[in-house]
């Protein structure tokens, strides 16, 4: 129980620290936030007008005071308005969030499902031709930058073959389920391809490590078949690391969609984050950073909890900690 309270405390302190860091970095960095609010008009503003605008947006005070104000409002659930969209930031984010969740979420599930499958196939056929081929192909895919594979896919499937749409989440004229799925194909491919081999290879090596453990010999001596050993023992022992790997990777895959979103003009929060950071849309930026920060910290914590709770091996290490 004390441990849980401790964890929650660590979580809040981390988020608080994170919010301050982001706040400080974003405001200390040069750049004009008024640009995103007023657009090109900024250039024609008189100094008086500027001062007035800054006061209106609360940008004239020292950073610490600004942060205090922001905290006070945030505690009440008011995160301010987006300078660019002139809308409550929560609304802006909520409007875009589903797109990213669909793209990243399905991508995440697909990636890990396929990774486990490929990892298993490779490990079962270690050093045989099927493993070698998958490893080679995998290495090649892992070397292709996400943006370039996106470009190539667009070039092949949209420009040359003209079978798949190259941008947006749905067509301008039509907005049906099938149309949305159709628009998802290419971005999803990139999301999955971009991460698949990294995880599949990791899982492959983890399984190989398990296969070499001594307990496999005992299981073999009991009369279990290869398959039974793999499913009942190795995979079972793999699961804790698999789940904790998944937990750590949630933010990685969800947050890593901004490149894909930019190339395919997909209206998710990744693209939003990119814009807000570039054009100093402070309030929007804060919410997005805290959101992604929370997923990172939560992901890490879940992974740690999984490791400690599910895997008796780590508990065992704890018990024999300092005894020699």
């Amino acid at each position: 129980m004390r441990k849980i309270i401790g964890r929650i405390l660590v979580f809040f302190v981390s988020v608080l620290l994170l919010s301050f860091l982001v706040f400080a970095i974003s405001r200390l960095a040069p750049g004009d936030p008024l640009l995103s609010y007023y657009g090109d008009r900024v250039e024609k503003m008189t100094p008086a007008e500027r001062a007035w605008a800054e006061k209106k947006l609360g940008l004239d005070e020292p950073i610490l005071t600004q942060y205090g104000n922001w905290m006070q409002n945030a505690a009440k659930g008011n995160f301010g308005i987006s300078y660019k969209y002139k809308q409550d930031v929560i609304e802006v984010v909520l409007e875009r969030l589903p797109y990213t969740l669909v793209l990243g979420g399905i991508g995440f599930v697909l990636t890990f499902g396929l990774a486990l499958l490929i990892g298993m196939v490779c490990a079962l056929h270690e050093e045989r031709w099927i493993d070698r081929i998958i490893c080679k192909v995998g290495t090649v895919t892992s070397c292709i930058p996400e943006f370039w594979i996106s470009l190539m896919l667009i070039l092949i499937f949209s420009v040359e073959l003209q079978v798949l749409p190259s941008s947006g989440a749905h067509s301008l004229t039509e907005d049906s389920f099938i149309d949305r799925v159709w628009h998802l194909v290419l971005p999803m491919t990139v999301v999955v391809l971009g991460h698949l081999w990294y995880y599949a290879y990791m899982i492959r090596n983890k399984i190989l490590e398990e296969i070499r453990a001594d307990y496999v010999l005992l299981a073999k001596a009991k009369g279990l078949s290869r398959r039974q050993i793999l499913y009942r023992h190795c995979l079972r022992n793999l699961l804790p690391s698999y789940f904790s790997l998944m937990a750590i990777s949630i933010p990685h895959i969800l947050g890593g969609t901004y490149i894909v979103e930019t190339v395919f003009s997909f209206p998710g929060i990744g693209k939003l984050a990119y814009e807000s950071a570039r054009f100093k849309d402070y309030n929007l930026l804060m919410v997005l950073c805290i959101l992604s920060g929370i997923t990172v910290i939560l992901g890490n914590m879940i992974a740690q909890a999984i490791n400690e709770r599910i895997d008796p091996r780590i508990r065992a290490e704890e018990v024999f900690h300092d005894e020699r």
Binding site: A213, D214, Y215, L217, L218, A219, K220, A221, K222, G223, L224, S225, Q228, R232, H233, R236, N237, P240, D311, P312, R313, R315, A316, E318, V319, F320, H321, D322, E323, R324
Partner: protein
């Protein structure tokens, strides 16, 4: 019925294809195993005994190829289908392993691992029945409270309990044949004695044919009906227990027996087999043992000897048994022991080099718990004395050593080194250099005590490099050559890395490094525990020799009582962090006072008692 043949191994060979070449792990081995008998396979590490076990069990890794026949009744196990072999594994054959911790799956409860072994062969068994059987098995192997124990994980078990659990798994389907691969090597003496008794009990109750692999002749003598001695992948001698221990015929068997410390009781040095076992990658022409054999014949260097029959049950592969060969006799240690005079104790009268008063050391554990590793230990060591510190794992003996070497300084109590109060920070600072030069330590595991990425020449001269001292022999290189030759390492090894040397050689390098600075006190923490018997004896001799030459004091930490008895002048016995008994070696071994010392001494298996192999 007694003589019913269970298993017949015919000309079995096992080879491993590795990156470095083909390893001939088992070469043309033949023997048979009868119902209800225990056949022990003895040999040093790397002689192929484990590979033999795995080959019979059919659990060799993929890079292994086998030749010959392993006959179970009239079926050759090496050619039957994998499905059939699987059916036999765990039901007809079972195996127990050296390290019970890694052999058990860490993420499954003990109960479910035993249950798995049951229903893999009896899939139709009802759940309740399986449960009952699991409890029954746990009880059989002497685990109390089987119902709660079955729900626990391996890490919640002690070493002995783990080995019992592995045994329970092996016994799950009442196998006819049990293969035990060094089942007690990883355990403490008292636990080893328990497991051996249990094994023997169950084996007799179930009338199992058992193959018991071990490197320890003393253990073998306790459990075996017949003994096979392996060297370089071959069985060099096989016979009944009596034949092997009373009338051994192969020089290698002689060597193994003579290496036992009790054999050399009263002698200045332990007997050793010179040299090292050959690499199984490239075997020399003729008999691989010839280069270590004082009685090698000319023909040994040309042709491997065949098996000669000594009696119907006793065979040995040595040319000495050829009718034309000269007769060489082997004397059993009984004669030795009676010829030798009373044990001479070198009474050291020197001043105290180290004095420990009320030493207590606690470790903080995760959470608020504390663990007292050493509690209120007091003893002293005189100049030129070899002081043995014995105890089982976790008794705190290594912690004492580390306190003595200032690795831990947060202890309570006093430690005086040559009247310097080293528990005092100021004194440590003041005499820093002297303390660093005069006290040296040797560790158990030479792989981790030598940096794998430094050359031998660097490692030996490290103390000079650290202290920026000018070596006595002029240059660092000359010093390295001198020190290495002193411990029996040739010059060619200077440019090698530790991993290119054998375990014994590495330990020699570690010793050379320790004595290079002319220390006054040497602390050796289990320096021979990780080595083979014949190599252990070599290292012990080296210690004895060096001690005589340099006259330093040694604190020798060990769990092997026989070694301690041979080497040490005085002994301290530790248990659970306390020093329960201290005294002269002869006194303690002849007349132990504390109950634990008695238990410890009783647990040591003995081969020769009053001249003859002792009876079971």
């Amino acid at each position: 019925m007694e003589d019913e043949l269970m298993l017949n191994v015919n000309h079995l060979s096992v080879e491993f294809k590795t990156k470095k070449g083909t390893v001939h792990a088992v070469r043309d081995v033949s023997f048979s195993l009868k119902k209800g008998e225990v056949l022990a396979i003895v040999g040093e590490s790397g002689c192929g005994k484990s590979a033999l076990c795995k080959a019979i069990m059919g659990v060799l890794p993929k890079n292994a190829t086998t030749e010959g026949r392993v006959m179970l009744q009239d079926r050759n196990l090496l050619t039957v289908k994998e499905k059939e072999r699987r059916r036999l594994r765990g039901s007809v054959f079972s195996m127990i392993f050296q390290d019970p911790l890694t052999a058990l799956n860490p993420t499954m409860t003990i109960g479910s691992q035993i249950a798995e072994a049951i229903y893999i062969h009896q899939p139709k068994m009802r759940k309740e029945e399986v449960k009952e059987r699991v409890y029954e098995l746990l009880e059989l192997v002497g685990i109390e409270n089987p119902k709660t124990r079955a729900k626990q994980y391996a890490y919640e078990f002690s070493g002995g309990m783990r080995q019992r659990s592995v045994l329970a798994i092996a016994l799950a389907n009442d196998p006819a044949i049990l293969l035990a691969d060094e089942p007690t090597t990883a355990l403490d003496v008292t636990i080893q004695a328990q497991i051996l008794t249990l094994l023997r009990e169950i084996q007799q109750k179930k009338n199992m044919a058992t193959m018991f692999v071990s490197h320890d002749l003393r253990v073998v003598n306790q459990v075996a009906d017949r003994v096979a001695v392996m060297y370089a992948g071959k069985i060099v001698e096989i016979g009944t227990r009596e034949e092997i221990f009373k009338d051994p015929r192969h020089p290698y068997t002689w060597g193994l027996l003579k290496s036992l410390p009790e054999f050399s009781r009263g002698q200045k040095e332990l007997f050793t087999i010179p040299g090292m076992p050959p690499s199984l990658l490239t075997l020399p022409k003729g008999d691989p043992f010839a280069v270590r054999n004082d009685y090698a014949l000319a023909i040994d260097y040309e042709k491997e000897p065949p098996m000669f029959e000594v009696s119907a049950t006793h065979q040995a592969a040595t040319w000495l048994l050829h009718e034309k060969a000269p007769k060489v006799a082997f004397t059993t240690p009984a004669v030795f022991a009676s010829e030798a005079g009373p044990v001479e104790v070198a009474k050291s009268t020197g001043t105290e080099i180290i004095r420990v008063n009320h030493l207590t050391k606690e470790f903080r554990m995760p959470g608020k718990r504390r663990f007292t590793a050493v509690s209120d230990v007091s003893f002293s060591v005189k100049e030129g004395e070899i002081f043995g510190l014995v105890g089982e794992s976790g008794s705190g003996k290594s912690t004492v050593a580390r306190c003595l070497m200032d690795v831990y300084t947060d202890y309570t109590g006093e430690i005086f080194y040559d009247e310097i109060p080293v528990h005092d920070k100021e004194a440590r600072k003041k005499y820093k250099k002297r303390l660093q030069m005069e006290r040296q330590m040797i560790f158990q595991d030479s792989t981790s005590s030598l940096n794998q990425r430094k050359k031998i020449s660097y490692l030996v001269t490290e103390p000079f490099r650290i202290q920026h001292l000018k070596p006595k022999r002029g240059s660092l290189e000359k010093e390295a050559i001198f020190q290495l030759s002193y411990v029996g390492i040739d010059e060619q090894s200077m440019q090698k890395y530790p991993r290119e040397l054998s375990g014994g050689q590495r330990q020699r390098v570690a010793i050379a490094r320790a004595v290079a600075t002319d220390p006054k006190l040497l602390i050796a923490d289990e320096p021979v525990a990780a080595l083979d018997v014949s190599i252990q004896a070599q290292i012990i001799n080296l210690f004895k020799h060096l001690q005589k030459e340099h006259g330093f004091s040694i604190i020798f930490i060990a769990h092997d009582l026989a070694m301690v008895e041979f080497l040490c002048d005085r002994v301290g016995v530790m248990k659970n962090g306390e020093l329960v008994e201290v005294g002269d070696t002869a006194e303690i071994f002849a007349n132990p006072k504390h109950a634990y010392t008695k238990e410890l001494l009783a647990a040591v298996p003995k081969i020769y008692k009053e001249g003859a192999p002792c009876e079971k």
